[in-house]
């Protein structure tokens, strides 16, 4: 398989990479090692670490950072930006519809079963229209590239996409270590993200809020693998980072416990999953949530970002219908394409997939983080046969996609610089308007030949540059 290398056009280096290419070429070997060690020390010092659930080992593991940035031209980025914003609008329109009249289902564009019997569909939200009709306020859209002008959406994340702290810290560390690179190239800043996020949250305060809204970030606590990100964002936004135990419901409102007594909370950016939000409404054994929160939410006393049940829009089964949503709600043609997807509950798709397992990637409908998936071309015969049995047992739990020829970016490796596969997650903010900072999180599969970029599976991160005109 031939992979698109983002650095080259034919034999020659593309313009956006020209300076970097020169930078690498003239870089002394020991300088690189010194800088790599410096970067690692900085990350550890700042405390940016992540833990992988259920793997044991070092709870303060560092996510590998690659110093070679990935670069987009302004024109490339504009195209992406339009496509991402379009998708974000359609996803929110879909959520508003399925928790309302369900027009898209009545019109026969999406099967009712996939929506109403979806585990992520939240009955408790039916009939509620949150402020400005926005259900998902932070949407992470995972993109892959296969050729110079070919981008595909791999999946949407409408619940609580993580990774934005890496986007910000990668940039911070690159600017600190290589200021000359930033002086030479004109790179669009991303550091306004926390400010935009705070504005977005304030813009969806409930109608009952009559003064400047008090926003908080709700975290499951410091044992969570993304805790660093939660505290990082709270700090940059200047809002409190709360746990469930810090909040309580009294009458029509939610309050937080402070050293000066109760203080009302208007907007909750929650980083805990739906089932744990409110033990009175969802899982009764949840210790992470706030009893009575959903009652306050339903009566318009507090905004929850993203709304409970927003996950119904980013399900891998619903994903296949997003282009349809764009046509249905916006009357536009999708600017970004989906990856071709076979849904195994369809008879013909099932036959096709089962006959071609060694060439396909098969994923669980509700899986995430690179777990529970089969990468056909990389799997052994036994692995394929084991997976085949799992599919046979429950076909509707799976979707399949062709193995994409993911683009590569030059990456520092032991022997110097070599191409490694990358993807991209930009973070789209939806409030009174739709915002997107020029950049995102580029994840890179550091193992040679690997197509899996998840940090839990040996992936690393890179700074992502958008050049200004």
């Amino acid at each position: 398989m031939v992979y698109y290398n983002e650095m080259f056009e034919g034999e020659s280096v593309r313009d956006p990479y020209a300076r970097l290419s020169e930078w690498v070429r003239t870089m002394p070997e020991d300088f690189r090692q010194m800088k790599q060690a410096e970067a690692e020390a900085l990350f550890r010092r700042i405390g940016i670490t992540f833990a992988v659930y259920g793997e044991g080992g070092d709870p303060d593991r560092l996510i590998p950072f690659d110093m070679m940035p990935r670069v987009f031209e302004q024109s490339e980025w504009r195209r992406l930006e339009r496509g991402i914003k379009q998708r974000a609008r359609a996803l929110n329109a879909f959520l508003r519809d399925v928790y309302g009249r369900g027009e898209i289902i009545r019109a026969g564009r999406i099967p009712a079963r996939l929506v109403y019997r979806n585990a992520a569909y939240e009955k408790a939200v039916v009939g509620i229209v949150p402020p400005r009709g926005v259900y998902s306020h932070i949407i992470g859209i995972d993109l892959v590239r296969t050729a110079k002008d070919e981008f595909f959406v791999l999946e949407d994340n409408c619940r609580t996409p993580s990774g934005v702290s890496y986007m910000l810290e990668n940039r911070e560390i690159m600017m600190r270590m290589f200021p000359q690179l930033f002086r030479q190239s004109r790179i669009e800043p991303v550091e306004q993200y926390p400010e935009l996020l705070r504005r977005t949250l304030e813009s969806v305060a409930p109608a009952k809020c009559d003064s400047r809204p008090t926003c908080v970030i709700l975290t499951p606590g410091h044992y969570n693998s993304a805790y660093y990100e939660h505290s990082f964002l709270a700090n940059l936004m200047g809002v409190e980072l709360v746990e469930g135990q810090d909040l309580f419901v009294d009458g029509e409102f939610v309050y937080m416990r402070t050293t000066q007594g109760p203080k009302r909370v208007d907007v909750i950016y929650r980083r805990i999953d739906d089932p744990f939000l409110d033990p009175l409404c969802f899982r009764p054994d949840s210790m992470l949530g706030v009893p009575g929160l959903m009652d306050v939410y339903r009566s318009g006393g507090v905004s929850i970002c993203s709304a409970p049940g927003a996950g119904v829009a980013d399900d891998k089964a619903i994903y296949t219908f997003v282009p349809e949503m764009i046509r249905f709600y916006l009357g536009e043609e999708p600017l970004l394409n989906n990856v071709q997807t076979w849904t195994l509950w369809k008879e013909e798709d099932y036959r096709h997939v089962m006959a071609n397992l060694p060439d396909l990637v098969v994923k669980e409908v509700h899986g995430s983080g690179g777990y529970g998936m089969l990468v056909g071309p990389k799997a052994s015969k036994e692995e394929i046969e084991t997976f085949r049995k799992k599919i046979e047992a429950n076909p509707s739990n799976y979707i399949a996609q062709p193995t994409l020829s993911l683009s590569t970016c030059p990456t520092f490796v032991e022997e110097g610089v070599a191409p490694r596969h990358v993807d991209l997650r930009p973070f789209c903010l939806c409030g009174d308007r739709i915002e997107l900072v020029p950049g995102g999180l580029t994840r890179v599969a550091l193992r040679e030949g690997s197509l899996v970029v998840n940090s839990s599976q040996g992936g690393g991160v890179k700074d992502t540059w958008v050049l200004s005109e």
């Binding site: 550890r44 409190e240 810090d246 050293t259 000066q260």
Partner: protein
Amino acid sequence: MLSRTASNLFWMGRHLERAETAARLLDVGQRITLLPNTAAGYQSEWNSLLQASGAADQFRQKYNDLTQENIEEFIFFDRDNPSSVANCIEKARESGRIVRTALTGQVWDALNVTYQELRKIEKTPRSKLDTATLTDFTTSHTSTVRGAINATQLRNDGWHFMNTGFGLERADATARLLDVKYFVLLPRIEFVGSGLDTYQWMVILRALSAHRAFHWAYGGDITAARVADFLILNGESPRSLITSLYETVWHLDGLVRRYGENAPAGARNQARATLEALQARNIDMIFDEGLHEFLSWFIGEIGTVSNLVHQDYLLGGS
């Protein structure tokens, strides 16, 4: 400020101070073993130090012999000992991590580096570590954190909570150390003021890094009354009961000023009352009352203040 944040800042202060106390105990124990053997042997010294850290029983359950290696393991490394240096540093760092948004970059940095260094020490073979390395590690890093706090933190309620934690813990530690030395080693009144005494008091001064300061402050012979005065009533002595409590009151006052007179002020009022009671005494009165009785009263008062801090601020008014 969130009650939970305040609580973590308060306990961060307490655990840092507690780590320092543990390291000082280790240091003083080490010094004693270098001196010519006393009649009772230095074993009883180690024992009294364990008593001071409030964990003698726990030590006996886990270790057989009072050897230097065992004690070092127990006081510095042992995760089963809640007051070990390693545990206190980890808890302080954990509290700091939970409330990172309330700390400046420098404070977090100092705290995190302390923890990373601790992990390195834990991975070093014990044979390569001597006691001085361990105590120096602890005191220099806790000083760095404290320095960062005083140099960079906003003088806001969070700062007051941290320092209230430091102050109460320090008052408690000094009182306990005094109590153990007095109660364990000198239970019989005829020993008070005897030759054996001087040496014991020296040990206390060393444990509090105060032996030089003592001479500057008083000069002349080391006597029980002077040492006790220095560590209980001398307002210049940084670890004396009165200084620790005075600073605690100052920080609690800061909270009351900030939150307004209508907010609960139980802890401040209690701490003030205890401080006044302390100021009303001189050292003869304390000896007449009985040093042990006096210290028991004081430790009880500190416990009450600590509980009132919780009631006033850390429950969130619900």
